[in-house]
């Protein structure tokens, strides 16, 4: 029998997301320090020209964060259109993943593969790990949209948690873009 | 490494050709004899320092020399595998196992010639652990240790190939498995001489293989009786 607390409390999801963010931060911190250390002692580091498409993808991801913020405010006020903005977030998120795939194909067409050199290896590893986490976020968004469509009351706790995660993915990508530009 | 790989492929091709060649009849009495020599200066063999493994070092009064190039009087080259690479009939698989010994931290013989699918028994005669690692490229590669007193390791190979063999535990230990399709083969001693008896009259390709000098082949026609001579001369460099 669900207790009163468990039904209403939004807190565990939020705590879980914060803890998850801490873990993901450590993962990328480990990748970053690995990259710094690997580059530091290496004579075989060849700079990589980032596909310009990445910047377009960045815009898409930032836009998706914006759309989610609009959705969140509307849902919180029970204003109309929340669900639609949620869908927009979802579409933009999928578009980002598609864009990343295109960027990889672009690099592959230039003959730059995972094992080509250390810089390309780190590029693929970082972007792919990020994309995997974004896919997790997309699944959460899809679940959220399903809940919003089904329920009369928006699940605000879940919404807040998913939004925190999604914005973190956004920020993480901006961070990756910077270190990829600087190091790779 | 790469050349060795090409070699194995070439050998396989030749072997395939051999399978189509006319067969040597029963009671054939033709013989090919010859001598393998070198010109130039061969690399000097060095004494092997077995200090790391006292149980082996004490077995040798004088230090064992490296065996990459073994030479004899009158520029003779030892450890050359001479065999019929074309013109021979497909031979049956011998069921008698060949024997390969690890004794005094040396492979005996240095080159073991076996036929395809012929069983090969590998013995550890030492009081120390050995490790047999045939670096096969065409055949499956394996890597097994053999503690003192362990039973012999049974091996066999399905495809012709010259396989370098090393002991991971004793870096100086190197040998070869020569896996051939023909039953007509010989390994030269330090006098460089070889004999390939029992050949039916006909045209053959004789090939000589040496781990450092590579391979040479020549066409030989064997008459009904008597011996034909086929000599091989390798060019040696000091380094």
């Amino acid at each position: 029998m669900p207790s009163e607390r468990a039904r209403t409390s939004p807190v565990p999801a939020q705590t879980g997301v914060v803890a998850g963010i801490a873990a993901i931060t450590m993962t990328f911190a480990a990748f970053t320090s690995a990259m710094v250390m690997r580059k530091g002692g290496a004579s075989d580091w060849a700079p990589l020209h980032l596909p310009p498409l990445l910047f377009a993808n960045t815009a898409v991801l930032v836009a998706s964060s914006g759309a989610l913020e609009v959705a969140r405010r509307r849902l919180r006020r029970d204003a109309p259109g929340g669900s639609m903005w949620l869908s927009a977030t979802l579409v933009l998120g999928v578009l980002f993943i598609a864009g990343q795939l295109a960027a990889w194909r672009d690099l592959a067409a230039q003959g730059v593969f995972l094992a080509t050199g250390p810089s390309s290896a780190f590029f693929y590893v970082l972007t792919a790990t990020h994309a995997a986490h974004v896919l997790g976020g997309l699944a959460a968004l899809a679940y959220l949209r399903y809940r919003v469509r089904r329920a009369t009351i928006a699940p605000l706790g879940t919404l807040g948690a998913v939004a925190t995660y999604w914005h973190f993915m956004d920020g993480l990508w901006l961070y990756l873009l910077v270190i990829l530009t600087v190091f790779v | 490494m790469h050349t060795r790989h090409l070699w194995s492929l070439a050998l396989a091709a030749v072997a395939a050709a051999a399978a189509r060649a006319p067969s040597s009849g029963a009671g054939a009495a033709g013989t090919i004899t010859g001598k393998v020599t070198f010109t130039g200066t061969p690399p000097r063999m060095r004494p092997i320092d077995m200090a790391k493994e006292p149980s082996c070092a004490t077995q040798h009064q004088t230090p064992v020399m490296t065996e990459t190039v073994v030479t004899g009087p009158e520029n003779a080259v030892g450890n050359v595998v001479v065999y019929i690479s074309a013109g021979d009939a497909a031979a049956g698989t011998p069921t008698e196992p060949a024997r390969y010994d690890q004794k005094g931290c040396q492979y005996i013989p240095h080159v073991a010639v076996i036929q395809v699918s012929q069983p090969l028994d590998i013995y550890n005669d030492d009081q120390t652990s050995h490790n047999i690692h045939p670096l096969a490229l065409v055949n499956p590669e394996w890597n097994k240790s053999q503690p003192p007193g362990a039973p012999p390791i049974h091996a066999s190979y399905a495809k012709p190939e010259f396989i370098a063999v090393k002991c991971n535990v004793h870096p100086w230990m190197h040998g070869y498995f020569a896996v051939l399709t023909t039953s007509h083969h010989a390994v030269t001693g330090s006098d460089g001489g070889f004999t390939l008896p029992g050949l039916a009259p006909g045209k053959y390709t004789v090939t000589a293989w040496h781990e450092k000098f590579g391979t040479q082949s020549q066409e030989v026609t064997v008459a009904a009786t008597g011996a034909v001579t086929a000599n091989f001369v390798f060019k040696a460099q000091p380094y």
Binding site: V11, T15, I24, D44, L114, A115, A121 | E141, N143, K166
Partner: protein
């Protein structure tokens, strides 16, 4: 997503893919039991080989014809046994049993919740861990056998593939995949522990009133969250080096098995840094739950409050924090800048302060106590003794200048087996004897338990103390045999250790028998057999599906109300509404 679920229907939902934290906790403990038996059999084979290198192990030839022809253990098979023993014990026993196992069963009850915050993640956590174990064990059955590069899997030995030796092909890849999966499983578990402790505490259960075991699980889960999220990327990079031809850890120009390796520019030290950044905190992941368990049980058996409870919590937090600053002490001699050795040595020595304080608090708690000598109590006392012995030998290894001599010797083996192996196992045993009645509703046999303790306690000292002697004499660890002149003099001592290890192992049969028999035949347990205070003792043995029968308890006291004078019982339960006694 606060997940709620009613009592499950059907066998699969109830016992296999259960969302109930109590079932998941038992599943983790079952996995750990299988793992610990496997790991111990592997250690017996190793000890057999070290004592009598050329004697065949009866029957082993049939099980492992390649690794042990006619039962004779080959050097690579020995290293496989060692690698699998270390990996199984560290990951699948010392992490799963005290942390994931008992933590899962007890933490939600301790905080007064009906389940974990995310039951689905919790279930996934177990099954991913189970999969990780299956993948690891499958390495025994692949062509070349299990990996031989130790539980630390130092690159390039672990990164270059089959040229590095038998087991370094598919076996090593399976190892890396298994550990990667394990990280995922433990991360999901850690998320749950953190969210549950912070958010699902029942009314009145302030952080200050959390039982000490729960504090330890909470801090361990924070450590685990950070540690496993660093090991996971390290495993990904290792797998890529192995299967995708990248060069993160493999430098150029290596010739292995006569073959020039197709790698360039990688850094072997990078793996060591990533691994030990995880690896040292992992030691605390293994031992801190033991700290918590001992501090939880000790007041209940000593019938007096834990000395300095706030100091104890502070010790846990300090250890957790410092555990991230000391990883370099595993690498004093690995070619790091020699200045960094001093840098890592200082926090390593400082971390002994909170550990010393915790030990003194336990010993101080025992002062003037009225000890009840049940088996759980004995294992707590044994924990303290063993932890002192192992902790003190750490003083030697923490100093770079002494480590120069002792690094890589049996001294290290003796040290970490005492401090994280045996001590953590004693914590697990104490927890098992203490909470078994709660978990299964039946009491364990105390007579068997006491014999189990005495034999084990003497046994482990006979096994691991002599390893310190061996180390002092310069005996190198990870050697499959001491067949040459070197260290031949230590063979008698090795044989003594082997006999002691087999003896200690045999003593564990008493435990297994007791476990199985008590599960079905033990006398029924009352709700609170030990007169203990924490919330699990307020509910039935075993607890109902939602832990408290639909009524979440309200907490009025901390867990430390033992030895209360002037009343019939000498303790006050956390959920008891009576007022605090006058000090």
């Amino acid at each position: 997503m606060p997940d709620t679920h009613g009592a499950p229907q059907g066998f699969l939902r109830q016992y296999v893919f259960s969302l109930d934290h109590k079932v998941i906790g038992k599943q983790y403990l079952g996995l750990a039991l299988v793992a610990v038996c496997t790991g111990m059999v592997l250690s017996w084979l190793m000890r057999w080989h070290l004592g009598w290198p050329s004697a065949a192990v009866p029957g082993l030839g049939a099980v492992s014809p390649t690794g042990a022809p006619s039962g004779m253990i080959t050097p690579e098979y020995y290293l496989s046994l060692m690698t699998m023993h270390g990996t199984i014990m560290v990951f699948f026993v010392l992490t799963t049993a005290p942390f994931a196992g008992f933590g899962n069963f007890l933490l939600p009850i301790h905080v007064g919740a009906e389940d974990m915050a995310f039951p689905r993640f919790n279930m996934m956590s177990f099954w991913v861990t189970f999969l990780a174990f299956a993948v690891l064990v499958s390495a025994f059955f692949v062509h070349d056998g299990p990996p031989i590069s130790g539980w630390t899997a130092y690159a390039p030995l672990s990164a270059v593939g089959k040229d590095a030796g038998p087991g370094q092909g598919m076996g090593q890849t399976l190892w890396a995949v298994s550990i990667g999966l394990f990280c995922v499983g433990q991360l999901l578990g850690a998320l749950n522990f953190i969210a549950t402790t912070l958010d699902l505490r029942t009314k009145g259960m302030s952080l200050a009133r959390l039982p000490y075991a729960t504090w330890a699980w909470f801090i361990t889960s924070v450590i685990g969250l950070i540690a496993f999220s660093v090991l996971l990327p390290a495993c990904i990079l290792l797998i890529l080096d192995r299967v995708a031809g990248t060069s993160f850890f493999v430098p150029a120009g290596l010739v292995i098995s006569d073959r020039l390796q197709p790698h360039a520019g990688g850094s072997p030290l990078l793996w060591q840094h990533l691994f030990w950044f995880f690896g040292h905190p992992e030691v605390y992941i293994a031992i801190l739950p033991g700290f918590g368990i001992v501090s939880h049980i000790l007041p209940a058996v000593a019938r007096k409050p834990l000395l300095g409870p706030k100091v104890f919590i502070a010790c846990l937090v300090t250890i957790g924090f410092l555990s991230y600053t000391v990883w370099g002490h595993h690498m004093f001699l690995s070619g790091m800048n020699p200045f960094s050795a001093t840098l890592f040595s200082v926090p390593t020595l400082i971390i002994t302060i909170p550990a010393t304080v915790a030990t003194l608090l336990w010993i101080g708690t025992l002062y003037g106590s009225k000890l009840r000598f049940n088996t759980a109590a004995l294992f707590c006392l044994g924990f303290i003794s063993v932890f002192v012995s192992g902790g003190l030998s750490g003083f030697f290894l923490a100093q770079p200048s002494v480590d120069v001599y002792l690094h890589g010797t049996y001294f290290v083996v003796g040290h970490f087996h005492f401090v994280m192996g045996v001590a953590a196992m004693f914590g697990i045993f104490a927890a098992t004897y203490f909470w078994f009645p709660k978990m299964f509703g039946r009491m364990m046999n105390e007579t068997l338990g006491k014999w189990h303790f005495i034999l084990t306690f003497i046994g482990v000292y006979c096994v691991f103390m002599p390893m310190h002697f061996l180390g002092l004499a310069g005996d190198v660890r990870r050697y499959s045999a001491f067949t040459d002149d070197y260290m031949k003099g230590s063979l008698p001592l090795h044989r003594f250790i082997t006999v002691a290890a087999l003896f200690t192992g045999a003593a564990q049969l008493l435990f297994l028998y007791n476990l199985v028999r008590s599960r079905f035949r033990g006398p029924l347990a009352p709700a609170n057999p030990w007169d203990a205070t924490s919330l699990e003792w307020s509910t039935a043995s075993p607890p109902p599906h939602d832990n408290f029968g639909g009524q979440p308890p309200t907490v009025f006291h901390g867990p430390n109300e033992y030895g209360v004078a002037g009343r019939s019982g000498d303790y006050i339960m956390q959920a008891s509404p009576e007022p605090e006694p006058a000090a």
